[in-house]
């Protein structure tokens, strides 16, 4: 009767096993530092231009829209606060993660999937290498390290975009914009703004690797794995951000971290 649940439950179980092994391998030899550095370059440096561009335009668009609403109440001077909180808490982490998911979860799934269908994964095992250690763990470490950094940069460049509109369009002073933008940020905002990209990074890298490792059915299978990796990691990004936001709002209500 519950046969329809068998496949998703087995998939989830396999995902948990892969995640456990990948995390355990962080503390086991051998450590493939060259692969970690290479993945940091691919994921971090490679994603930098698009992340900066999207961050800038997000700040610009958000400032223009919020300013229109605030002007009705004559409170456009608060624009720095609103842009700052929105970017640091939600939009910076989520948009950066979605970009990296689209660019790198797909890349990871297609690369590992191609290796799978051409028997390179089997060859790796036959030649004395644990594919989880060689392929999954370096991608996990690299993504977990660079995604928070990319998010910080996206937040900052978004604030610069907001500042441009504030100064050039809304005639708000530079000092007023930056002081309100900075002062509104509580430890609660900073912590969740950095925790979220860290959690997203774990999901993006592991989901990409998981679907890559399960690829079957030749080049068509690689295409399917790539699509699934992007869709599933994107959905999980929204699920996680909802959960983390709820937890931090609860913490704020209890006066932890301040707000």
């Amino acid at each position: 009767m519950l046969d329809f649940l068998k496949t998703p439950v087995e998939s989830f179980q396999d995902f948990i096993i892969l995640s456990f092994r990948a995390i355990r391998n962080i503390f086991r030899s051998p450590h493939y530092t060259d692969d970690i550095a290479l993945q940091m370059e691919i994921i971090g440096v490679g994603s930098l231009p698009i992340v900066l561009m999207i961050g800038l335009f997000t700040g610009i668009v958000m400032t223009m829209n919020f300013a229109r609403a605030l002007m009705q109440y004559g409170t456009q001077g608060l624009i720095g606060q609103i842009v700052s909180v929105s970017l640091v808490r939600e939009l910076g982490p989520v948009l950066t993660a979605l970009l990296v998911a689209g660019r790198n979860a797909s890349g990871i799934a297609s690369e590992i999937g191609s290796m799978r269908v051409t028997e390179q994964i089997d060859a790796m095992r036959a030649l004395g290498t644990d594919p989880t250690q060689k392929l999954v763990t370096p991608r996990l470490i690299a993504t977990a390290f660079v995604l928070p950094l990319l998010t910080i940069l996206a937040d900052y460049i978004g604030l610069i975009g907001g500042w441009l509109i504030a100064v050039l369009v809304l005639n708000i002073g530079t000092t007023q914009y930056w002081s309100t933008a900075w002062r509104i940020l509580a430890p609660n905002d900073i912590v969740q703004g950095l925790l979220k990209p860290f959690l997203f990074a774990i999901i993006i890298s592991l989901v990409g690797c998981f679907y890559g490792m399960r690829t079957t059915g030749g080049t068509q299978g690689v295409g399917r794995a790539t699509t699934k990796a992007v869709v599933v990691s994107s959905v999980w990004i929204f699920v996680i951000t909802s959960m983390v936001t709820r937890v931090f709002l609860w913490l704020a209500d209890k006066h932890y971290f301040g707000m």
């Binding site: 290796m115 269908v117 051409t118 028997e119 390179q120 089997d122 095992r125 030649l127 004395g128 644990d130």
Partner: protein
């Protein structure tokens, strides 16, 4: 390992993927210097037999022994030391796209934990160990063996299918393994290249007395392995005996079962319609 110990032993091994049988109660054993040639229709379980022999796939039931040690329930990390004594050529080649040819061939030397500890080839347990050579020297020797020494700096995508297959052979034998597993080494190749590949397999067998399991669809491959030898002075294959070597046996697989096990002469006399398909004058 004792000289009389089988290199590979399958005891009633079965494997299923869902409802599809891949191996059904397969039992056999082979010793050093022996050759098994596996025929069978697509999906009959040939590749899975090789993967189970290497511990890449765990059987549902039965036991698998490599060099006298049961590997059926060994953990992945514990298998690495045993796998260091086995060379395998995958059907798809299994060469790493991101590495050049030299790095591909050097990969087992640099990554097999057992070889890193000992610093010497795995050895077949019979020949004297080779003197210590550098990784570069061993890679060059292996590539020279397959006559591709000029390709060291190239990448797999720059080579033809036959050349990639020969690089795969070089990578399989660079560790001087005691057991070699070849999955369809001649599939998709023209007859001249296919015969060159078989000549290399014969050359390896003659020089190192290696146990060999070869999956193939070409009847001629089995015939050459059974009746020919490699002549080092002429560098070509030559007929060894008319009646065929007793150390070469042919397996025919049908839906996961070993439907036939015997010599080429016995295969020729079979009346089973499925098995007859694999004869050179069969009706397939």
């Amino acid at each position: 390992m004792d000289a009389g110990t089988p290199v590979v032993r399958f005891e009633d091994v079965s494997l299923h993927f869902g409802d599809t049988p891949a191996l059904v109660h397969v039992s056999f054993e082979m010793r050093a210097g022996e050759t098994r040639v596996l025929f069978g229709a697509a999906g009959s379980g040939k590749t899975q037999l090789l993967k189970v022999a290497l511990g890449l796939v765990k059987p549902d039931s039965g036991r698998v022994y490599l060099f006298g040690q049961e590997i059926t329930h060994l953990k992945e990390r514990d298998l690495f030391d045993i796998r260091a004594r086995v060379g395998i050529l995958f059907q798809e080649g299994g060469l790493f796209d991101s590495l050049n040819i030299a790095d591909n061939v050097a990969y087992p030397l640099l990554n097999q934990p057992a070889l890193q500890r000992s610093g010497t080839p795995a050895g077949n347990g019979h020949a004297a160990p080779a003197p210590a050579m550098s990784v570069d020297d061993r890679v060059r020797e292996a590539l020279t063996f397959v006559e591709l020494q000029q390709t060291v700096d190239k990448f797999p995508s720059e080579l033809s299918g036959g050349m990639r297959r020969r690089v795969g052979i070089a990578r399989a034998l660079v560790t001087e393994p005691a057991l070699l597993l070849y999955d369809s080494p001649t599939a998709g190749l023209d007859p001249i290249t296919a015969n060159t590949i078989i000549a290399l397999l014969l050359k390896e067998r003659e020089m190192r007395n290696t146990a060999t399991i070869m999956v193939t669809h070409r009847y001629l491959d089995g015939h050459l392995m059974g009746h020919f030898r490699y002549n080092p002075s002429s560098g070509k294959m030559e007929r060894a005996s008319a009646e065929g070597s007793s150390s070469v046996k042919i397996f025919v697989m049908q839906e996961g079962r070993l439907a036939f096990e015997g010599t080429e002469a016995e295969l020729e006399t079979t009346q089973d319609p499925y098995i007859k398909k694999f004869l050179r004058h069969g009706s397939a």
